[in-house]
Symmetry: C2
Subunit: 503 residues, 2 copies
């Protein structure tokens, strides 16, 4: 097991302190500490955890300049993108504090004792409680918002579940810095020891997922990596939930009318979207259905021109860049697939990726053509009429998102294509591009396999549900009930005898 | 593959029509029909499905006498218990209709477009949509409430997911009768063909779980059976959710004070609970912690006397009776375990089970002593002080329920023991017995592995969540939005810009 060192993707040069992989014994000690902390952390209550999340948000905000600088050197994503990502990360922590204050997420319900068709019914009081210690596998492509201080971590902490984070090897310094900031903030706030830990190394990740004290796993990464963790979970004596965000092609459909009306704007938006952050986004639009014919030709010509102007972005790491080149070359050599544009050349040093635009006939698309290519590449699939389009859509794997560009007077077509896209996605969007996932109450970042393996979102407030389980207290003395289930106004929405009541 | 025939457990004699196992080709045809029906069934809307569930409830109620007679002959559970179970089954179907009318289950949320800390935000509208065709494995011990017309079926139909039911072999005639009643009611109500199907046979069940068109599996049965289905799911190219209700010991704790104050009543209630329905209940109290000393001795003596009076109940089938005898004999021969009471003897014919009460020291309990024994058997574990009790509780597997008998002035002890029980159960109840699971809004029937493998309940209104997944529409034209997400009052609770609003 080799130690993990920071590497500057702009030069390929390693720098900084190497972090040794966490040993199996240390992982076991950390998992035990997490289990030990679970009770006190839950008992500290919603108000405490809301305060903790705000303190964490403040600590990250206060270190903005340092975080962005460290993350940029390690990832090459650029200070603008990383500054925006930090804003989102801080907002996310604070939003989960709001979720705790509001309290709906508990799904609190009280059925008073009384007659039922089945005879006298008991007093039943239900709410969600923390699932227990959670293992979070940070993503490489979002060193902040989906990594150590990211959505999985803060939604699990909000739920009241201690978190052990497996740092992504592509940004050890960012992981360590953000972890230290969070851990210091948590300690200063008086949080129980053990609610937040960091491990590093492949074996440590495997040990963590196998550890009996870990009660759920959240993972953002490759389909292959996700499958490997699923195998470990399936071999546990006690299976646990696995929330994987794995792979996504994110099809975009452009109608004939939309291509005719605003093909240039769509082309510009598309190239911006598939090359943003080097195309290293789980919502990158990888496959774009453009109609055959003149309007489509013009759109494609504009996309070709725009792609030619794209300077080669930095890959997050050497292996990402190599994988991109491999998959891109493989796609380009598939029968019926043609490279129609390339971006600027890669410089002599560092891990840059050349943007590529490919094309094929929609009718020819095979399963091999729909492999996710992580990086600045998109395939334009030309379709010949609606039947051709529908048939191609039906053959696609599921994605996190599906996008439709259509015109105002195409309602019937929009309804029909929405059905086709919705069957294969967790978010359907219109006349925009799928990159950029707003953290909010109504967001869904999840979809049918292989985009995720879950019926939950990993972005937005409802992500908290992944780390909770229901418990019902029957005929319980007041003293043993959580505050949220005691008589009187609990200050949160509750369902009383079947009727939802606001505080 | 042998055909399934009804067998009268009171005589052991087969009777009636044998049902041939469903062939693999037929399972594939049925799954395809379910997938075909999914779209129209969802499009029919909540109001339609509420009406359908009420029509199904009415059809079952109208055939009450016939259903109870047929089920009693096949299961030996008795007309009183089965009449109660039918009442619950009908109520359950109607309650899910109420859930549809009320609409909270959709978790509808609208975030209007507007400024956010990350820049301009889109219009996001989220709600839950049907997950797709569901395979339901009916239980043997509840031929109505957990079988063909049971909670899994009606909660999946409520969600808008077509259902394919694998009939339990212990009651083929009851399965066929209730299926025909439901299918006729659905057809008369105008429901799409394919939303409700029945298959039979072990291979058909395996085929169903492996079928790519099946999107979730609900199973109530043995841990071994559940693990076998999980293996099939893990081998699918696309894994799907498995909601298993698998095994449960349902520990009961009696405090010293409770034993002293009302030991006789606890003993009577306990024996009634562990022998009800022949002990063939997933919430049967299988392990009872009674304090060492005089008060505990008196409670045990009363339980011994009451057990002696229990007439041997009928097993649901020959294999259940044989498994009961095998596990009961195994437990009785464990070191430190003693049989202290037996119920009335088994008659010369049929599949009866002799009730048995065993005892052991809590400190001696090993993992082998905590195997679920499906049938009229309980183990009384004598504990010597709180530390001894806590240590034994900590070593138990998780269960669906945990029960505490305590006195009014024991709040501190009750809080402490509630923590211990809650860590291992989905329902904690006080001064009662766990058998009898009310179908209601605040119920939880689910707990940590091995009681279930899910963070959901299979009884009560929130069981519907298992068959739904979230979708978000972004910047969608009004025409493509579901009615529940369009502007204006949708008649259901919704979260608008983060604020929960009632209709």
């Amino acid at each position: 097991m080799s130690a993990e060192t920071s590497i500057d993707p702009r030069t390929g040069a390693p720098y900084g302190v190497a972090f040794a992989p966490t040993t199996s014994a240390e992982v076991a000690r950390i998992a035990a500490a997490a289990a030990e902390a679970a009770g006190p952390f839950e008992a500290a209550g919603r108000g405490f955890r809301a305060g903790l999340l705000r303190a964490i948000g403040d600590a990250l905000e206060d270190a903005r300049e340092q975080i962005v600088t460290v993350a940029d050197r390690e990832t090459g994503l650029g200070e603008k993108r990383l500054g925006g990502e930090l804003t989102r990360t801080v907002y996310q922590a604070r939003l989960f504090a709001d979720v705790l204050d509001e309290g709906s997420y508990l799904e609190a319900a009280i059925d008073h004792a009384g007659p039922t068709p089945m005879g006298p019914g008991p007093d039943l009081r239900r709410m969600l409680v923390p699932i227990g210690p959670v293992a979070v596998f940070g993503a490489g492509n979002f060193p902040l918002a989906f990594a150590v201080p990211g959505g999985d971590t803060v939604s699990a902490l909000a739920a009241g579940s201690p978190v052990v984070i497996k740092a992504h090897p592509s940004h050890p310094a960012t992981s360590r810095l953000t972890f230290d900031l969070m851990a210091r903030a948590a300690a200063a706030f008086g949080a129980p020891q053990g609610i937040l830990s960091l491990v590093s190394g492949l074996q440590a990740g495997a040990d963590l997922v196998a550890d009996p004290r870990i009660r759920a796993v959240a993972f953002t990464g490759s389909l292959r990596g996700g499958k490997a963790l699923l195998e470990i979970i399936n071999a546990r004596p006690e299976p646990i939930p696995f929330y994987g965000e794995l792979s996504s092609l994110n099809p975009v459909v452009v109608t004939e009318a939309a291509a005719a009306t605003r093909g240039d704007a769509i082309a510009a938006g598309l190239v911006g979207s598939f090359t943003a952050s080097g195309g290293q986004l789980c919502t990158k639009p990888g496959l774009v259905f453009v109609p055959a014919g003149e309007a489509g030709d013009a759109l494609v010509a504009a996309a070709v021109a725009a792609t030619g102007d794209v300077a080669a972005p930095w890959a997050l790491g050497e292996n990402i860049g190599a994988a991109y080149d491999g998959i891109a070359s493989g796609l380009a050599s598939r029968p019926g697939v043609k490279v129609i544009a390339e971006g600027g050349p890669v410089p002599g040093e560092g891990f840059a990726m050349r943007a590529r635009l490919l094309t094929a006939r929609a009718a020819d698309l095979s399963e091999a053509d729909t492999e996710e290519c992580f990086g600045p590449l998109a395939i334009i699939a030309r379709y010949d009429g609606e039947a051709d389009l529908r048939s191609a859509l039906d053959r696609l794997p599921a994605s996190l998102t599906g996008t439709l560009h259509c015109e105002d007077d195409e309602d019937d077509l929009a309804v029909e294509l929405t059905e086709a896209l919705r069957a294969k996605a967790g978010r359907v969007l219109y006349n925009g591009f799928p990159t950029g996932v707003l953290v909010s109450w109504a967001q869904t970042h999840g979809g049918p396999w292989p985009s995720t393996n879950t019926a939950h979102t990993s972005v937005g407030t409802t992500a908290i549900r992944r780390f909770l389980r229901p418990v019902t207290w029957q005929d319980a003395p007041e003293a043993v009930l959580p505050a949220e289930l005691q008589d009187g106004d609990a200050g949160i929405p509750r369902r009383i005898d079947g009727r939802l009541m606001l505080p």
